[in-house]
């Protein structure tokens, strides 16, 4: 009797099916990306109802800091028209200048890393996280407070903001911080930066997304690409790149020290995918020169723990479907930010485009992970998802919306 029931019920038999744990790592990276996108969509949809205060604050902010946005709006002012062709031209110019600046800065980063100025880079990373959390976080909190009429006095607000920013800097900066706080703050930084980017004009956002995905493709795959040089340097030296990287480690602690170190073992799969991480820094400078947003590269890698607290069994050497449960997948924060920018911009149009773009980005992420498992070398994570996202956005806006509205307004569904 017992045997019969035990056989038919896998749980009581004590054997677990492979379906129980397969794909865990992928879900652990899909959840924070989805959370980041959800938060950006919520922010965009709740703050985009043109509140006078928010629009005046945002225009104030944009004019006081010299940002690429102001460049394009300056362009528009000078040209004196908001015709579509002028917008497209200024968008292309803005996107191109942004990519040029990012390339130069990434080469600078490679140079600094080559001369082993890692301390300088880490301090810079800390300062940029502080900037994002305090200035951008404060700005967006002010927008939220004014929109939802939350009663709070300035002193409490200042204390809270200061505390949260400082803890955030420590969380992303120091290596032994609790991982869930680290992950939470990285998602927060991604949300804030992505929301800031969605405040750009529409054509500029799309041009920027496409330009950044092309840049990512070039920087990682071309032999002279800065990101590729960076990864090779780090791997040859067995060092970690100081960067804002989301590490999808499980929250419960593992025994033994987990040092995040690059490894070059030929028997174990190491996939290094790189993306530009935005420690998106808008530096408020007194001069009127164009401010830049810096980027620090970060890899999408499957890092393996140094000690043997997870046994790398035979499954790791398989040409599997790339879903082995081992180590942790790391995704650069720039990916978070640009995915959320795309979804946020889709949210400014309609929720249907949001869902379509979300599915497209997830599909792109899945395809990238599969390619990772097949090619086993540095791959950029931005291009596939962004291209799919843009395609789906266009298709939804042009084709799907009319069809679905036609059907459901007549209450016809299938």
């Amino acid at each position: 009797m017992d045997d019969r029931s035990a056989d038919s019920d896998p749980v009581t038999a004590g054997e677990s099916s492979i379906l129980d744990t397969l794909g865990e790592d992928v879900i652990r990276i899909v959840s924070p990306v989805s959370l980041c996108m959800l938060l950006v969509v919520l922010l965009v949809s709740s703050l985009s109802s043109t509140n006078d205060l928010s629009s005046s604050i945002s225009s104030l902010f944009l004019s006081s800091t010299t940002t690429p946005t102001s460049f394009s709006s300056l362009n528009l002012l000078l040209l004196g028209s908001d015709s579509t062709w002028e917008e497209i031209k200024s968008a292309l110019v803005t996107a191109f200048s942004f990519v040029v600046v990012v390339t130069l800065l990434t080469f600078l980063l490679v140079l600094l890393f080559y001369f082993r100025c890692t301390n300088f880079l880490r301090i810079y990373m800390g300062i940029s996280s502080l900037f994002v959390l305090s200035f951008l976080g404060g700005f967006i909190s002010l927008l939220l407070i004014s929109h939802f009429k939350i009663p709070i006095d300035p002193f409490t607000f200042a204390i809270l903001l200061f505390n949260l920013s400082v803890v955030g800097v420590f969380a992303v900066f120091m290596p032994k911080f609790p991982i869930s706080v680290n992950q939470g703050y990285l998602v927060a930084i991604g949300v804030l930066t992505a929301y800031w980017f969605t405040m750009l004009p529409e054509w500029t956002t799309w041009a920027l997304l496409i330009a950044m995905s092309l840049y990512d493709l070039a920087a990682v795959l071309l032999p002279i690409g800065p990101l590729r040089l960076l990864v090779e340097l780090a791997m040859s030296r067995n060092e970690e790149i100081p960067a804002l990287v989301y590490e999808a480690r499980p929250v419960d602690p593992q025994p033994g020290d987990r040092v995040r170190v690059w490894r070059e073992r030929t028997d174990v799969r190491i996939e290094a995918t790189e993306n530009s991480t935005n420690s998106a820094n808008v530096q408020t400078v007194q001069e009127t020169r164009l401010a830049v947003s810096e980027e620090i590269t970060a890899p999408l890698i499957e890092a393996f723990p140094q000690t043997g607290d997870r046994h790398l069994g035979t499954e790791e050497e398989e040409d599997g479907i790339g879903l082995g449960s081992s180590g942790a997948i790391k995704l650069g924060l720039g990916d978070f930010i640009f995915y959320s920018v795309l979804v946020g911009r889709a949210a400014m149009y309609d929720y249907m485009t949001v869902y379509a773009c979300y599915l497209a980005i997830m599909a792109g992420l899945g395809v990238t992970l599969l390619l990772l498992a097949v090619y086993r070398k540095a791959l950029p994570a931005l291009p596939v998802s962004i291209m799919l996202g843009v395609v789906f956005y266009l298709l939804t806006r042009v084709l799907l919306e009319v069809f679905v509205v036609q059907c459901s307004s007549n209450l016809l569904m299938f």
Binding site: L22, V26, V30, N51, Y351, A363, S409, L411, L412, F414
Partner: protein, 283 residues
């Protein structure tokens, strides 16, 4: 949100309602705002309640099922985009006759059912890959319950995509302070009708995938015929909504159809599991 669908006047109205609801004036009462958010959330839960509970109880526990759900949602979206592309030249249908809409429904359902067979082939390939992987890591192969859970996740993905694209994306004005009625159905708010129809179709899609996969695996004609048939009947029932006052008949019929699908799938799974149990015990 700005009014973006100018070609359809009723959607313009919906947007004016939603823009009015936004809290620019500041003197609007708090109760009025929260009531309307509650209404919007209520409509979402009507359409997606069973789906969410299925998700939380069955699918969220196994990461692979979540991935299956996402990919089947994507699959349904792609099929919908292809359909929309094929029909784009003929839209918007201005006539109030039944026949253009019935052609629309027939072609759409036919296409989706044809795609389901392709989906099943993909599913078989995935099953083979999973079994090969299980052999390599010396774990047991996929159990029958695993395969059924995969079918359930696939079906839930389809149903979720249907609810999201046909109901949720039009639900934004429901979060504002007013509601909207369609001419043909003046007794029930538009949002409630679309939520109930979405609920019916979520159930139909979810469980017809279970029935279809079992039918294709076992090769039983009865199951294979049942699924397209049920889908077609359900879609044709929504045609009744075109007639003024038809939604009062159409909605209950759709719910009956959903209940029938649920019952059929329940009987099928029960039979399958008891057969499996007896064959294993007799070995």
């Amino acid at each position: 949100m700005r009014c973006r669908l100018d070609s359809l006047s009723l959607i313009v109205c919906l947007h004016l309602l939603s823009i009015d609801g936004d809290d620019d004036k500041g003197e609007r009462s708090q109760i009025g705002d929260t009531m309307t958010v509650a209404a919007g959330v209520g409509y979402v839960l009507i359409a997606l309640g069973p789906a969410l509970s299925l998700f939380a109880s069955v699918i969220a526990k196994k990461p692979f099922l979540i991935l299956t759900l996402l990919s089947s949602t994507l699959f349904w979206l792609i099929s919908l985009i292809i359909l929309a592309g094929a029909w784009r030249a003929f839209l918007p249908v201005k006539s109030t006759e039944l026949w253009p809409y019935s052609i629309l429904i027939l072609t759409s359902v036919g296409f989706q059912e044809g795609i389901r067979i392709g989906f099943w082939r993909l599913f078989k390939k995935m099953e083979d890959m999973l079994n090969a992987f299980a052999d390599r890591v010396s774990k047991p192969r996929l159990f029958l319950t695993d395969k059924m859970q995969l079918a359930l996740a696939g079906g839930l993905g389809h149903g979720l995509a249907h609810a999201v694209f046909f109901c949720l994306s039009l639900l934004t004005p429901a979060f504002g302070p007013a509601t909207f009625y369609v001419d043909k159905c003046p007794s029930i708010p538009f949002f409630l009708i679309s939520a109930i129809i979405a609920l019916g179709f979520v159930i139909i899609h979810t469980f017809s995938m279970v029935i279809a996969f079992n039918g294709y695996t076992e090769g039983k004609r009865k199951d294979q015929i049942f699924v397209p048939f049920a889908h077609l009947i359900a879609a044709l029932i929504t045609l009744i909504n075109l007639v003024p006052g038809g939604c009062n008949i159409g909605l209950p019929l759709l719910c009956i159809m959903a209940g029938t699908t649920l019952y059929y799938s329940w009987q099928l799974v029960w039979r399958r599991l008891t057969e499996h149990q007896t064959t294993r015990s007799s070995d």
